[in-house]
């Protein structure tokens, strides 16, 4: 059912909070930022929280989420408890620079903002806003424009913290940066984070971004990231989502690319109540290359909504999308791909693919791979499939004496493997292989301690073929 009400109490709470907690929200903000916030606030009042009446939201119903009661916090001290627990969460063998967000706030052991030996600046967004106002004047809220939907405006108006990464020109960051975003709070919580990543000319960065939750409380998390890539830069971006079934993540990433920039973004959604990923990629340069991959494994009542908008504004660029998903139980999945090739963007190559497997009759998939093309010298294609495991492949495996369960597991894993193999960071690839296997067996749950199983990093999962059944 579509809901018609747009005035949720949550909207009014947020509007009131902006007025009441204005002082906290504006802490250390420059005039220009305060202006941006106020404009976005006005915009949010106008737009409200998105409902299914909007075309972009028609397959995702958040009414129940909006009707929950949440705790809202505008000062850091209230929500941060045990910092050490956050830092346990690490991918083994992956030599990374770790930064962490806990309940929406940047947490640190020594300093909130550090400059690495190569000049890269990593740290808290709130701190960076204070220290580097010139960077914020140039990039902040320039790409995530409030016109898209209410969540963006809301985030721009009220999000206080998040992470900030600045890679100067000609710097290739050797170690991947890993961001762990943990939600661990004993009541229902509403949080917003805002991230800004800037890559200078010829800069290179590998970024691993994990969303985890440590308990089973409800949460609504609205994240907006702006990622700016200057000429000839390279970003390898991974987004892992493994949160509890009561969590709703609204995650909007705005990528902006200049000439010859290259981007690979890989989203792995393993668990979550309602996951919404907006990937908004503007290719404002020639010779760019973008790969957008996504894997989603949903069961129970989980819902995933992947939105990808690729705007080819300049000629001679390539974009490639591949999203694959397996839906079990009563899970539902949405894929909305939109490729826009503008009038002058000749010689554009854009490919879009979405493949889904439905395991039950109650699972649902809505797929809309949409091409909007105004230039003639282009090669664009899209494909979408919804089906089930290949019966012939199944027969082949079973005829070789492998049990049905193992055969099904093998096939499902093989289906996912296409995405996993795109991961270029070896330890991460192995970790994901392991996690996907566990996920498919139903063994990966959001445990009370740590989803990444740091306590047994050495334990690898393999397919176990039960010989007694042959």
């Amino acid at each position: 059912m579509r809901s018609d009400t747009t005035d949720f109490p949550l909207k009014n709470t947020l509007i009131n909070n902006f007025v009441e907690h204005g002082k906290d929200i504006f802490t250390n903000n420059k005039e220009s930022i305060i202006d941006i916030r106020k404009q976005a606030y006005t915009k949010f009042i106008e737009q409200g929280l998105p409902t299914q009446k909007l075309e972009a939201w028609r397959n995702t119903d958040l009414t129940a989420v909006y009707n929950e009661e949440y705790d809202h916090y505008y000062t850091q001290s209230n929500v941060i408890k045990d910092i050490d627990s956050v830092f346990q969460c690490n991918i083994p063998h992956l030599n990374t620079t770790m930064i962490a967000l806990l309940n929406g706030w940047y947490v640190y052991k020594d300093v909130p903002l550090k400059t690495m030996a190569d000049g890269t600046i990593i740290g808290s967004l709130a701190e960076a806003m204070k220290v580097y106002p010139e960077i914020f004047d140039k990039y902040y809220a320039k790409y995530a424009t409030s016109k898209d939907d209410g969540f963006i405006a809301l985030n721009t108006a009220m999000a206080q913290d998040g992470f900030f990464i600045y890679v100067p020109d000609n710097v290739q960051v050797k170690k991947p940066i890993q961001i762990v975003n943990v939600i661990d709070y004993d009541k229902n919580i509403f949080l917003q984070t805002r991230n800004l990543i800037v890559l200078g000319k010829n800069a290179e960065l590998t970024l691993v971004h994990c969303d985890d939750s440590y308990n089973h409380q409800k949460c609504l998390c609205n994240t907006v990231s702006e990622i700016v890539q200057d000429e000839n830069s390279y970003l390898d971006h991974y987004k892992m989502q493994n949160v509890n079934n009561n969590s709703t993540l609204i995650n909007s990433s705005y990528f902006y690319m200049k000439n010859n920039a290259r981007l690979t973004t890989n989203g792995m959604s393993l668990n979550g109540g309602i996951l919404r990923n907006n990937n908004h990629i503007t290719i404002d340069g020639e010779g760019c290359e973008t790969n957008v991959y996504g894997l989603y494994l949903m069961d129970k009542k989980q819902h995933i909504d992947n939105q990808v908008f690729i705007d080819h504004a300049k000629p001679n660029s390539l974009s490639n999308e591949l999203f694959k998903g397996i839906m079990d139980d009563t899970a539902s999945g949405v894929f909305n791909g939109h490729v826009l090739v503008r009038r002058d963007a000749q010689k554009t190559n854009a490919f879009q693919r979405n493949k889904n497997i439905l395991l039950t009759d109650k699972a649902k998939v809505n797929s809309k791979p949409f091409l909007e093309i105004y230039a003639d010298d282009v090669k664009c294609s899209h494909g979408a499939t919804v089906g089930q495991l290949d019966t012939e492949a199944m027969f082949y495996i079973r005829s070789r004496g492998i049990s049905e369960d193992s055969a099904r597991m093998l096939l499902m894993y093989a289906f996912c493997d296409e995405i996993i193999q795109k991961i270029t960071v070896e330890p991460l690839k192995h970790r994901l292989e392991d996690m996907v296997k566990k996920r498919l067996r139903g063994e990966l749950s959001v445990c009370a301690q740590c989803v990444l199983h740091c306590s047994h990093p050495e334990k690898e999962y393999n397919f176990e073929i039960d010989l007694s059944k042959i």
Partner: protein, 482 residues
């Protein structure tokens, strides 16, 4: 090469619409504008039974509450519904019994269109229902068909002679409240064709309706209803043209098809309404609701369309696959040139088990035109083992046009397979080079490639239509490439 292409594009954009003449026939018209009185006027004019007037008024009242849809990728100035004459008919001189008695002017008109009523009757063995402006002027072959129990006549005749069939089926596929334009049509439709194939009868000849808008300032609102009873088969064709005028004329039609158990209906359209001139002035606004329902098991409905005309096309022929093992097909070539806009596609709603559907859509856009495919494939919970294959390709000619694809896929069943693929590109330089290398001129090479591209759909047309469609394609596109 570039100059070549420019010449060719010029040639194409300059090619004239050859059906743009006006016939001077005395017309019987309703006063301009739309009100409850207009609806009553039309109903009275047609001497309709009470239930028809009620149906119309119900629709009119609903229409007043509705808003014109804006979701389509179309841009046009708002339509002023008070500026349209909703009913225009050639003044009947007397009751028509044979073709000889049809107004010679009208026969002349149809001869000019290449639809010689007389010749068709003698030679091709196609039964034609000719609809000019709002009214069916002549249906050929009625007698021959009645031998088989087939009813093929104008809608108003059917209302008079077979009211129970009309009552039972009218609005059963496209309800009066379906959408803005269908509701408008339900209120003011003037005529159209009615076709009923009784149980077990295979219609021996192709049935065809020819629509012609003639009078100025009029809108055409016709309604077609096709019923195929158990085990029946019919192939139905529809063609349309309109005079060249500077203003835009509205055409809002409804086609309803009901296929009962084991029945098969094949519906082909060559749509060639006046597309407007090369500056984008004039032309027909074509808002059509076409829908069929495979009510019984093993039934089949197939839509084939070649869309070359109309300033604006808004049309989504659909099939509701209700019966088990039923089949829905949609084959389409949509060509847009100059400032034409087309937003067209198909909907396949799978409700029954083992239902199958195929969508093949080929869009070709040239000039400044916009060509969109918009389609929905829905597999409901109970449609186990259903299968859909969709392919929608777009060909772009020139850098000022647009081609868009909006496929919606909704699957709620794990045993079904849905596949969708689409490509958008211009004519491949390799193919062009290959042809030219063998001494084929650029223009012929492009003709070859475009025809090859559309072949898959053209092949599905009945022979009589395929020829016309191929000619149309060559007029619209011969040799145009960017």
């Amino acid at each position: 090469m570039a100059t070549d292409n420019n010449n060719i594009i010029n040639e194409v954009t300059n090619s004239e619409y050859k059906y743009g003449f006006v016939t001077d026939i005395e017309m019987d018209q309703a006063p301009m504008g739309l009100s409850e009185d207009t609806v009553r006027f039309i109903s009275a004019k047609k001497n309709e039974p009470e239930f028809m007037l009620e149906f119309r008024l119900k629709a009119y009242r609903k229409w007043l509450e509705m808003e014109e849809p804006t979701w389509a990728h179309l841009h046009h100035p708002p339509i002023n519904y008070q500026d349209i004459i909703f009913y225009a008919a050639p003044k009947p001189k007397k009751e028509l019994a044979s073709l000889d008695e049809v107004d010679p002017q009208l026969i002349e008109t149809f001869n000019k269109l290449g639809i010689s009523l007389e010749e068709q009757k003698k030679l091709s063995g196609v039964a034609v229902d000719a609809v000019i402006d709002s009214v069916s002027v002549k249906t050929t072959f009625t007698e021959t068909l009645s031998k088989y129990g087939i009813i093929f006549c104008s809608f108003s005749e059917a209302v008079q002679n077979h009211p129970d069939l009309i009552k039972k089926y009218m609005g059963s596929v496209v309800p009066y409240s379906d959408n803005y334009f269908a509701t408008l049509n339900s209120a003011v439709f003037s005529d159209g064709s009615f076709c009923f194939i009784p149980k077990g009868v295979r219609c021996p000849i192709e049935l065809s309706t020819y629509f012609r808008i003639n009078a100025a300032n009029t809108g055409q609102f016709e309604r077609t209803l096709i019923i195929a009873e158990e085990g029946a088969y019919v192939s139905y064709m529809e063609g349309c043209t309109a005079p060249q005028r500077d203003e835009n004329q509205l055409h809002a039609a409804i086609v309803e098809i009901v296929a009962l158990q084991d029945a098969e209906v094949k519906y082909s359209t060559v749509q060639n309404w006046y597309p407007g001139n090369k500056k984008g002035e004039g032309g027909i606004y074509n808002f059509v609701t076409k829908r069929g329902i495979c009510k019984g098991s093993n039934s089949k409905i197939s839509w084939t369309q070649v869309e070359t005309g109309s300033a604006i096309t808004w049309k989504y022929p659909s099939v509701i696959l209700l019966g088990d093992n039923s089949v829905g097909e949609f084959y389409s070539v949509a060509v847009t040139n100059n400032y034409q806009q087309a937003d067209t596609g198909s909907k396949m709603i799978h409700l029954g088990k083992n239902t199958k559907s195929t969508i093949i859509s080929k869009g070709i856009s040239a000039g400044f035109s916009e060509n969109s495919y918009r389609g929905l494939v829905k597999i409901s919970k109970n449609a186990t083992n259903s299968r859909n294959y969709s392919q929608c390709d777009s060909l772009l000619m020139g850098d000022k046009c647009g081609a868009h694809t909006w496929p919606y896929i909704r699957t709620e069943n794990s045993s079904s397979i849905v596949e969708h693929e689409a490509t958008t590109s211009k004519i491949s330089e390799d193919q062009l080079f290959y042809c030219q290398q063998r001494g084929i001129s650029t223009e012929s090479a492009i003709g070859l490639i475009v025809n090859g591209y559309a072949k898959e759909v053209l092949n599905k047309l009945p022979m009589e239509f395929a020829v016309e469609a191929q000619k149309l394609l060559s007029i619209s596109l011969e040799g145009s490439v960017g």
